[in-house]
């Protein structure tokens, strides 16, 4: 009996232990603390932050081969000091070699492009600049598709003929197949992502006010970009769940160099922007092949605000008035007719061959 009891206890204890993947090697002993689900704190702004690392999940992400301290370079001792700056994405990952250059891998190229864009910022910013998104505001640490856990054996079997290490073959397969399949967010996800900031009226008004005060040019639709997109055809179709409808990036980023371009978004007044007046027709033609200059004039951010589109504002006002007046005039006419005919003695239904059974209460003038 005792043995059975011990076995059950051991089983329960085992269930309660954090599962550590065999694939993930914690050489730096980070999991010593970060394996605990309740590892976290509440920031001075009141946000709950979790520092829990799930090794079995992390081991399936694109960064799974990067040792923690390649990114968290400021950790020099254990237990470590409070983190001041956090991860910067422009640092080189010393443990990973870029196979194309033989040098330590880094994201500097895309990082520098991003910094030049309208969203560009440093990791640590204050004031208005701090409202801008940093890399991790858009990029998570994406998982490889679970279906790719076991790459097709016939491919790996062939790779290991020369490359010996099947781990390398698996990594190569995961990496390349992900790019070949063009894994990217669908329209709804991109709109939701952009709307996180572009729908925050408090933040938008803050920036608009600052630009106005400084005499800086700012797009007239800046404060209604997300709201007006959602009312447009594109926005509605995206909301209905169409995955291919034009989202923010389809128009505001260049199709020719999409992955780089989404990091260098420019205001529409910049001649290099795909939505600048000179490029707009070409941008529309990406989806609407027969689009011409007239077509490109259709406003993808329609609004009925008086200060932004007087034509729309007054059209809607006139429509409302005409509609209401017409409806009430017709109903009034029916009311007058009903009273008049009832007074004349008409009953509601035609029975026994007539509707004029009633005597009526109309006074005959004669």
């Amino acid at each position: 009996m005792k043995k059975i009891g011990l076995l059950i206890s051991a089983f329960i204890i085992t269930l309660g232990m954090p599962a550590i993947s065999q694939a993930f090697v914690d050489d730096e002993a980070c999991l010593m603390c970060h394996k605990y689900p309740k590892m976290g704190r509440v920031t001075s702004e009141g946000f709950q932050k979790s520092y829990y690392v799930m090794p079995e999940v992390f081991s399936k992400t694109v960064h799974r081969n990067v040792p923690c301290r390649d990114c968290h370079y400021y950790i020099k001792q254990l237990p470590h000091r409070p983190v001041e700056e956090g991860v910067r994405c422009d640092r080189a990952c010393h443990s990973i070699t870029n196979p194309s250059t033989g040098k330590p891998f880094n994201h500097k190229s895309i990082y520098n492009t991003f910094k030049e864009s309208v969203h560009g910022r440093e990791k640590k910013e204050t004031g208005l600049e701090n409202d801008k998104p940093y890399c991790i505001d858009c990029h998570t640490n994406p998982l490889y598709n679970p279906d790719e856990d076991v790459p097709p054996p016939h491919i790996i079997e062939r790779c290991v003929v020369c490359h010996e290490d099947d781990k390398f073959a698996n990594r190569w397969y995961n990496h390349t197949s992900r790019r070949i399949r063009e894994v990217k967010r669908d329209s709804q996800e991109i709109v939701a992502l952009c709307s996180r900031c572009h729908e925050d009226q408090e933040m938008l008004q803050r920036h608009k006010k600052a630009a106005d005060e400084e005499g800086r040019e700012i797009g007239e639709k800046y404060v209604i970009a997300a709201e007006s997109y959602k009312k447009s055809f594109h926005g509605k179709v995206a909301q209905y769940g169409d995955k291919n409808v034009a989202n923010c990036l389809d128009c505001h980023a260049s199709a020719e160099n999409y992955y780089m371009s989404v990091h260098e978004l420019l205001p529409s007044r910049d001649p290099k922007s795909p939505v600048n007046a000179v490029n707009r027709t070409k941008t529309c033609q990406k989806c609407h092949e027969t689009a011409d200059q007239s077509y490109a004039m259709i406003d993808p951010h329609p609004t009925f605000r008086k200060e932004l589109n007087k034509f729309n504002y007054y059209s809607e006002t006139v429509y409302n008035w005409v509609g209401n007046v017409a409806l009430f005039a017709l109903m009034l006419m029916s009311l007058v007719e009903t009273i008049g005919r009832k007074r004349d003695g008409v009953s509601w239904a035609l029975r026994r061959g007539t509707t004029w059974r009633g005597r009526g209460f109309r006074k005959n003038k004669r």
């Binding site: 209905y240 609407h288 689009a291 259709i298 059209s315 409806l327 008049g340 003695g345 035609l350 061959g353």
Partner: protein, 342 residues
């Protein structure tokens, strides 16, 4: 009854256009003279069949109405949940059809049926008008085309309802209310088709529009489609359905849209001009009305004087006599020319 100038005009045209035999015209003359000048006395005393007595709409018009109202209601039923996609009531309506993607396809398909119905109607109208013109039977007063008399009828009718007149105006086959409704529907349908097609074929519309108006056009269409739809739905629900289903005397419904016939009392009350034509054309109707007037003692006390004043019949007799003389002369000339030829 002493016929009004307008009624005389309508009757005169009809007698000539439809070549009503002299015997029938004589019968009609006698009947009209004994009709009481208070038309209320006529429509209040006749017996009507609820499903209709007098022919009004051809099978084509009935099919067009059926196609239009079925597609209209289904278009509203599918279009509103598409437009108000995030409203609490839109989700289950879209879900009912299998999701908004299906609703959109159904909406477009129904729109195509409605466009077909419109085309069918316009072609039918054109064909009917051409036929009538070629037969010499076209009378603009009998059509849906608005004329100045409609404005006068409207004022007179309102005056009657307010107690300012003894009788409702003598209205033709289509009264002012029906003309307002018809043109509102025609305008609304056109707006819906143009705006709907601008959503479906924006490239086409913008390729034929000048650059400076392209954006305004598209946005105006986007505004028009739901506004017009909602207005049409409300007008149908609160006005048209009221008029044909709920108004006094029409409850629970007029059968005209199914049988193509209108009740006798309705025809006399609201389409008196058309009733005069019916009397001219239908011997049975003349016999029926004469019977009612005699049976109920409704004959006009001034019948003899009225008959003297209704010169339309004397004019028609003269017209027929002249026609006969013309025909005889033509025949004699023909015989003469044949004999000369010999």
């Amino acid at each position: 009854m002493k016929l009004s100038e307008e009624a005389s005009g309508v009757l005169s045209t009809f007698l000539r256009q439809y070549k009503i035999p002299e015997k029938d015209a004589k019968e009609l003359e006698e009947l009209v003279s004994i009709m009481p000048s208070d038309r209320k006395q006529i429509y209040k005393n006749v017996v009507s069949n609820p499903v209709g007595d007098l022919f009004r709409y051809s099978i084509h018009i009935r099919i067009q109405h059926l196609l239009t109202f079925v597609t209209f209601l289904l278009l509203a039923f599918t279009g509103l949940p598409i437009h108000y996609g995030d409203a609490f009531w839109a989700l289950p309506l879209n879900g009912l059809l299998g999701g908004v993607d299906v609703t959109r396809v159904v909406h477009r398909t129904l729109a195509a049926v409605m466009v077909f119905s419109m085309v069918y109607h316009v072609l039918g109208l054109l064909a009917g008008s051409i036929q009538r013109i070629s037969q010499g039977r076209f009378d603009i007063r009998r059509t849906i085309i608005p004329i100045l008399k409609d404005a006068r009828d409207f004022m007179a009718d309102m005056s009657y309802f307010a107690g300012g007149r003894e009788n409702r105006p003598e209205m033709d086959k289509f009264m002012y209310k029906q003309k307002i409704h018809y043109f509102a529907a025609a305008f609304g349908n056109s707006v819906m088709v143009i705006s709907g097609s601008s959503f479906l074929f924006p490239e086409f519309w913008n390729s034929i529009l000048p650059v400076e108006y392209a954006s305004n056009f598209q946005e105006f269409m986007r505004l028009s489609h739901p506004h017009e739809a909602l207005l049409a739905l409300l007008v149908i629900a609160f006005w048209h359905w009221y008029n044909v289903h709920l108004a006094p005397g029409r409850f629970p419904m007029q059968w005209t849209y199914l049988t193509g016939k209108l009740t006798r009392e309705h025809q006399i009350e609201e389409h008196f001009m058309e009733y005069l034509r019916n009397l001219a054309e239908l011997p049975n109707e003349r016999a029926y009305l004469r019977g009612v007037l005699l049976e109920k003692g409704l004959q006009s006390p001034t019948a003899a004087e009225d008959a003297m004043q209704n010169t339309v019949f004397a004019d028609y007799r003269e017209y027929l006599a002249n026609k006969e003389i013309e025909a005889r002369t033509a025949a004699a000339e023909e015989v003469g020319s044949v004999e000369e030829g010999r």
